[in-house]
């Protein structure tokens, strides 16, 4: 076999096959991914588009073709569009604060005078390890209006108690709080490792020129970390649009649907209301919006960079 391959053949197709055969190992090694990707991603996505033109309660054989009806209903489905707005609001509520706190923490942990750096880093990172189901229940109990510890603390300090989970805006704040808790440490760790690649001479030179810490932070640190910041922004954007577990456990999507998310809408329509076709149509619209949002965000941040 081996000798046969080495003999050059005049026929072109065989030569192509030969080349492919010699390069078979690379293809072989990446093949499992593409096979599984085909089965568990491409096929479902195609199936989903077939489904989005049908009404289906999940019982095999009961699919009914309805044309664009699912999409036209989806376009005037207030609850679905509200859920889109909700994730945008939750994103706006937590992300700027999270980026700022994570950056400041990273800069602080990168200071040499600070002792026990490893301990602080671990303690701040800790929430990221927790299941959001466990954390969601814990937050739900802590934020409970009448009996929760948060309001006990506030009233103990002479402050008014807060309807954490019983008010449209406070509920969004509560979800944001859970996200801040879970993800600030994650971003901090990323920023910290990026900071450690910045040569300290840069800061020192700036300090010699009379720049203070705040100026260094905004003029040197932030611009240098921009690619990493954009990475975190993108991860958060996709993550927030895909929120499910946190609001499901913490608020159940309420009150007044104010913390319901697109994923919860898709989930509910499919698995509670048994409208698989409609859920498939919603997920397509959702997909489109996420892609557009990501592109806009990348364009926007790239322009800022230039």
């Amino acid at each position: 076999m081996r000798s046969l391959e080495i003999i050059p053949r005049p026929a072109r197709p065989v030569a192509a096959w030969q080349r492919l055969w010699r390069q078979r190992w690379g293809l072989l090694f990446i093949a499992p991914f593409f096979v599984l990707f085909g089965v568990f991603s491409v096929y479902p996505i195609l199936f989903s588009s077939w489904l989005s033109f049908r009404e289906w309660n999940g019982v095999p054989g009961k699919e009914v073709f309805v044309g664009f009806e699912n999409f036209s209903y989806a376009l005037r489905d207030n609850l679905f569009w509200e859920s889109m707005l909700n994730v945008v609001l939750i994103f706006a509520l937590h992300l700027p604060l999270m980026l700022l706190v994570a950056l400041v923490l990273a800069v602080i942990l990168n200071q040499n005078f600070l002792r026990l750096q490893g301990l602080w880093r671990a303690l701040i990172f800790l929430p990221h390890l927790t299941s959001m189901v466990a954390a969601g229940f814990t937050f739900r109990l802590i934020l409970e209006q009448e009996t929760g510890f948060a309001n006990a603390l506030l009233t103990g300090l002479g402050l008014p108690s807060v309807p954490w989970l019983n008010d449209v805006w406070w509920a969004r704040v509560s979800v944001s709080l859970l996200l801040l808790w879970a993800w600030t440490g994650y971003q901090m760790v990323i920023f910290l490792s990026a900071l450690q690649t910045i040569p300290p001479e840069l800061n020192e030179a700036a300090m010699m020129d009379g720049a203070n810490r705040v100026q260094i932070f905004w003029r040197i640190t932030v611009p240098l970390l921009q690619p990493v910041i954009i990475f975190c922004l993108t991860v958060s954007l996709i993550g927030t649009f895909g929120l499910f577990t946190e609001p499901t456990i913490l608020t159940g999507g309420g009150p007044i649907h104010s913390t319901a998310t697109p994923t919860m809408e898709i989930f509910g329509n499919a698995f509670t209301n048994l409208k698989y076709g409609y859920a498939a149509a919603l997920s397509y619209i959702y997909f489109l919006i996420v892609v557009v949002a990501t592109i806009i965000q990348l364009r926007f941040t790239n322009r800022g960079q230039a």
Partner: protein
Amino acid sequence: MNASARAIAIALPISLATIIGVVSQAQTTVNTAVKGEITIWGWKDPLSALKLVDDSFGKAFPNVTLKYVQKSAPDTYQGLKLAVSAGSGAPDVVLLEDSNLAQFVGLGALADVTDRTQPYLKKMNAYKWNAATLKGRVYSMPWDSGPVAMYYRRDVFQKAGVDINSIKTWNDYLSAAKVIKAKTGVKMLPLAKARNDARFFETLLWQQGIGYTDRSGAVILDKDPRASLALGLIANLYKDDLTADFENWTDPWYKTMSDGQIATLPMASWMGGFLKGWIAPKTAGQWGVVPLPTFSGSRARASNDGGSHLAILESSKNKEAAWAYIEYHLGRPESQLTMYKAADLFPSLESTYSDPIFNEPDAFFGGQKSRQVFAEAVRTVSNATVYTPDYAEINGLVSIEIQKLALGKQSVSATLGNAAKSVRDRTRRK
């Protein structure tokens, strides 16, 4: 004692009845012809009630073995939906709340028991058959009903100097609520605002004989004046701050009952058992029960909230044994009464209401014959269809609009209009 055996003989299709001649012969004693294992799905409390009847069922049907699978109610429904669409894994018998029953009837998951239930059509509360029926065919057997009456705190009313019997209409109720609040500081009832689940609204609709939709399936929320009466009452209760704002089934909500922070509780019969059993056992003697106040222009004083059925799955391989089980447990007054006494599941079987237990004074309710109140109420519950196949979805949509009302974001008519619109959009009704 032999009622069930006779019922089987009547209910069986002729072909089967002739094959199993033993049934009629063994009327008084034992049925060995029905055999096999059946699996029953349900949740904790009702399953333990069913098990109380199993000894005597075992003697009557020695060849039927029972396998119980206990799940929470949501897990039961999710598991059933899955089994139905996957085509395997379903039990033979399942426990279903009225509120979820129609969805499974609509899915075609349940076996047609029209003929088998024939002897019970007149024996059960008539309205119970609504959620079980699709296009004239019956798909389940009623177990318990949820007749609604009004629990009230004797001590609070006494302190406020209000006579409970003076409350005839919901308007009386509103005035009494103001007096009680002024004199004692106690709120009239627990009714969540941002966490409202629309169940009280449904109770008020049902009392007036309507649901969210009419018989043709069209949404009537924004058309029927009775819907605005119901929501108007709720709006007035909110407006005058007569409600305690706690989400149902949470600890602060239970606390309103155990600590005397509320004067009344317009809820179903099963709530009495919960109050007595674990929510507020220490308040024994301080409660009473009266029928619901009426809406003007109506004399209806009863409503329904909840209740459950047992159904046979269409996929069951042993429908005979499954039906024998259901009929024995739900069709016999003895079984129903055993379960009622143990677990407070109010029988839909009307012949039980003549049992002495319904005339026993209940110390928890200050020695009142409280069961009598519910037995009278349940017979006058109207035939409204609140529990449609898409009930869960409609309930969720309406809850959102009521929450907006509760937080002062919209008026009664806007609430009904918006609710009607979103139900129409989502469920594609008229």
